[in-house]
């Protein structure tokens, strides 16, 4: 199989002027106002185009897009909560066999799996790991809103430290979520897949280009998209994109790519904003004390430093 770098040799970037007009994910969905997941999903779909086969995990995006009227203009399948990657494996294997046997034409259709952070980092991690390891040609998109939103805001292993959810309530004995956010993009990268990236709907052109790269490169690709959820984060629907932007500017959610094992920062944060600024916009963090904020700041800085080192180590010439 050709390397990711080779596959991207003639890559034509999407620019603000060439953003695709197609809407594979269109009208008829029922997401909350300001939903970051659905914004990201629409961008992903635009970047992939109409020759897409979408596989959805159970969760907000599946429920809001398929009750009463489907919002999918391309083929779409939902099976269960934890198996989007396994279903996508099957779709890919099935098409591969049929194309080889001349039973269907190879139109270059892209198989894209969508799942929330719960479906990805918790219950679906095994299926995802298996599919990445087996090398199926598909793109897996994790829409990370940092909790189980579809069942009413329960914590996941992707919920950030200190956040209030209905199963990580703050109290005299609790600060809210007591564990640090699981580093899912690094787990994906550890599978040595050709392409891993993080993305944010606040940088929509960057997001779309990453998706376009992911589907261009043969083999499995993983994209982790930070997706604010006003309903679960307890913030105004008009602040979603602002929250997504702040997460990057405070180094809470750095944007990077891992191409053939090489880490590349999409945006170096030279003058970071304080984490506090990010936290104070969301009521899920409103119970945190200054010492908690200081602790979060310290760990965020340390994580970012580690990422910079990985960039240096894997890109010695850059």
């Amino acid at each position: 199989m050709i390397s990711a770098a080779e596959a991207l040799k003639d890559f034509q970037k999407i620019t603000p002027k060439t953003i695709p007009l197609v809407e594979p994910f269109s009208k008829g969905h029922r997401a909350c106002q300001g939903c970051g997941e659905v914004l990201a999903l629409r961008m992903v779909a635009k970047a992939v185009g109409m020759d897409m086969i979408a596989v959805s995990a159970t969760g907000c995006m599946e429920i809001i897009s398929s009750s009463y009227q489907t919002a999918w203009e391309t083929p779409w399948i939902h099976v269960a909560f934890e198996n989007a990657a396994a279903v996508a494996s099957g779709v890919e294997a099935g098409r591969k066999a049929l194309i080889r046997k001349g039973k269907i034409k190879d139109t270059g259709a892209k198989i894209v799996a969508f799942a929330g952070d719960g479906a990805t980092a918790d219950i679906g991690l095994q299926a995802l790991s298996g599919a990445l390891e087996r090398g199926h040609d598909f793109t897996y998109i994790c829409l990370d809103n940092e909790a189980y939103m579809n069942t009413g805001i329960q914590r996941s292993s992707s919920t950030p430290y200190g956040a209030m959810t209905t199963t990580s309530p703050p109290g005299p004995l609790s600060k809210g979520q007591m564990t640090w956010k699981k580093n899912m993009p690094m787990i994906a990268a550890a599978h040595n897949v050709p392409y891993v990236a993080t993305a944010s709907p606040a940088w929509h052109v960057d997001l779309m280009n990453k998706v376009k790269k992911a589907v261009t490169i043969p083999g499995p690709a993983y994209i982790h998209i930070y997706s604010p959820c006003p309903t679960g984060w307890r913030c105004g629907p008009e602040t979603s994109i602002e929250a997504a932007r702040l997460a990057v500017q405070t180094k809470v959610f750095p944007l990077f790519e891992v191409i053939d094992g090489q880490f590349i920062l999409s945006r170096e944060i030279k003058k970071p904003k304080p984490v506090e600024e990010y936290l104070k916009g969301q009521r899920r963090f409103s119970h945190l004390k200054p010492e908690d904020v200081a602790y979060i700041q310290k760990r965020v800085d340390a994580d970012y430093e580690r990422l910079l080192k990985l960039v240096q180590v894997t890109n010695p010439e850059a």
């Binding site: 109409m50 020759d51 897409m52 086969i53 596989v55 959805s56 599946e62 429920i63 398929s66 009750s67 009463y68 489907t70 999918w72 203009e73 391309t74 083929p75 779409w76 399948i77 939902h78 099976v79 269960a80 934890e82 198996n83 990657a85 396994a86 279903v87 996508a88 494996s89 099957g90 779709v91 890919e92 294997a93 099935g94 098409r95 591969k96 066999a97 049929l98 080889r100 046997k101 039973k103 269907i104 139109t107 259709a109 095994q126 299926a127 790991s129 298996g130 599919a131 390891e133 087996r134």
Partner: protein, 391 residues
């Protein structure tokens, strides 16, 4: 023309999946199913079968992968047992509800705990209500024929449902039997290529697996149940086709020496062959027994069954699984319910035997017969008895 070969039944099963030209095989090992997918992996590696072999990381993903590949329009096979079937449980319902013609061989095995790799029917009895067509093979030849038939029925546009072919673990999977293996041309004549009625195709987009709001959920379920019921005539039709093509006949319910039998043993799976020898022996002793074998378990052939037991006074229903908390095993419970609805008057005695690989001997059939006669004479309702328990 086919040829007669001596073959381990698991390998024969894999061979026939190859003759059926499966496009995708999803595989996860579990004893006693493993030889089936191992042999399929060899066939793919050797170029004897042009299929994608997907060595998934669990049975949950095996069935999920099958759903994906079948939805993509590919002829799809997998196989499992016991804990593996239990792990698939969630997705089995979805495969049926999406009307996907997946074929699965279930090498029947007991469920933990205690952990046991040996045969009984607890795995499949826990999956009675998944909406799949389910058949039971009695010997290696039936495994081969029922597997071809499974693809034929599953993919029939009037059916579009997944099919499970049950074969007893070890007792069938690991024995070498003489088998009439059909040749490729014969199988192709019986089973042409799969033409899905709908698939995940960007040129013709559809949404599969949408939310079932309360307004439509009941109707969707009813449609599924009706499809399963209506598959009955298609199943029979394709057995007739099989008889024409290969000269071997199959019926939903088989009978043996029932014409003048007072008492009939009701069995499923490979125990049927032991039962026949027990019936022969008891007949020699002048006892008027016969045997009724259930080959088609879902959809249950109610009328065929009622016809088969019409002449008998007493039924001895043999269960190979427990239904803890009920006075009868799963098969007897179902049959009693059905017979009550039909106003049948036969006495139903129920025994559980052969759990977790325990041998069932001919002597035990005689014991069961005498206990059943005694209970029937007393007229009192008989709770399920476990045979051969060491006290």
């Amino acid at each position: 023309m086919g040829r007669r070969v001596g073959l381990e039944v698991s390998l024969a099963c894999a061979e026939v999946v190859g003759l059926c030209n499966a496009d995708v095989v999803a595989a996860y090992p579990i004893t006693p199913q493993t030889h089936i997918v191992e042999h399929l992996s060899e066939m793919v590696a050797d170029g004897h079968l042009d299929a994608e072999f997907v060595p998934v990381e669990s049975e949950h993903s095996a069935m999920s992968c099958c759903v994906g590949s079948s939805a993509a329009g590919a002829r799809t096979f997998t196989s499992t047992s016991s804990q593996g079937l239990a792990l698939m449980h969630e997705i089995l319902f979805i495969a049926a509800s999406l009307r996907l013609p997946i074929v699965m061989a279930v090498a029947n095995r007991s469920l933990s705990g205690p952990i046991s790799i040996w045969n009984d029917h607890s795995d499949i009895m826990a999956e009675r209500d998944i909406g799949w067509i389910q058949t039971f093979a009695e010997n290696g030849q039936e495994v081969v024929d029922l597997t071809m038939h499974a693809f034929k029925v599953a993919e029939d546009k009037r059916v579009c449902l997944p099919v499970a072919v049950n074969l007893d673990g070890f007792i069938l999977t690991h024995v070498i039997e003489p088998i009439e293996m059909p040749d490729k041309a014969e199988v192709e004549a019986y089973l042409p290529g799969f033409e899905p009625s709908q698939s995940l195709d960007p040129a013709n987009p559809i949404s599969m697996g949408i939310v079932g709001m309360p307004e439509i959920y009941t109707e969707a379920k009813k449609a599924n149940a009706v499809a399963l019921e209506e598959s009955y005539s298609v199943i029979k039709e394709h057995w007739e086709g099989l008889a024409k093509q290969f000269g071997r006949t199959y019926k939903p319910i088989e009978t043996y020496r029932t014409e003048d039998a007072d008492t009939v043993f009701v069995t499923m799976g490979s125990l049927g062959e032991t039962t026949m020898t027990a019936v022969d022996q008891m007949r020699e002793d002048g006892i008027k027994v016969g045997q009724v074998r259930i080959r088609l378990w879902r959809p249950f052939p109610v009328d065929d069954f009622m016809e088969a037991i019409a002449g008998a006074k007493t039924l001895i229903v043999i269960d190979r699984a427990l239904s803890p908390g009920l006075p009868a095993g799963p098969v007897a419970t179902e049959l009693r319910g059905m017979m009550y609805a039909k106003g049948a008057k036969q006495y139903v005695a129920n025994f559980v035997c052969g759990l977790g690989g325990r041998d069932v001997t001919r002597a035990q059939f005689v014991e069961m017969y005498h206990s059943a006669q005694k209970a029937a004479a007393s007229g009192a309702e008989m709770s399920c008895q476990m045979v051969g328990v060491k006290e």
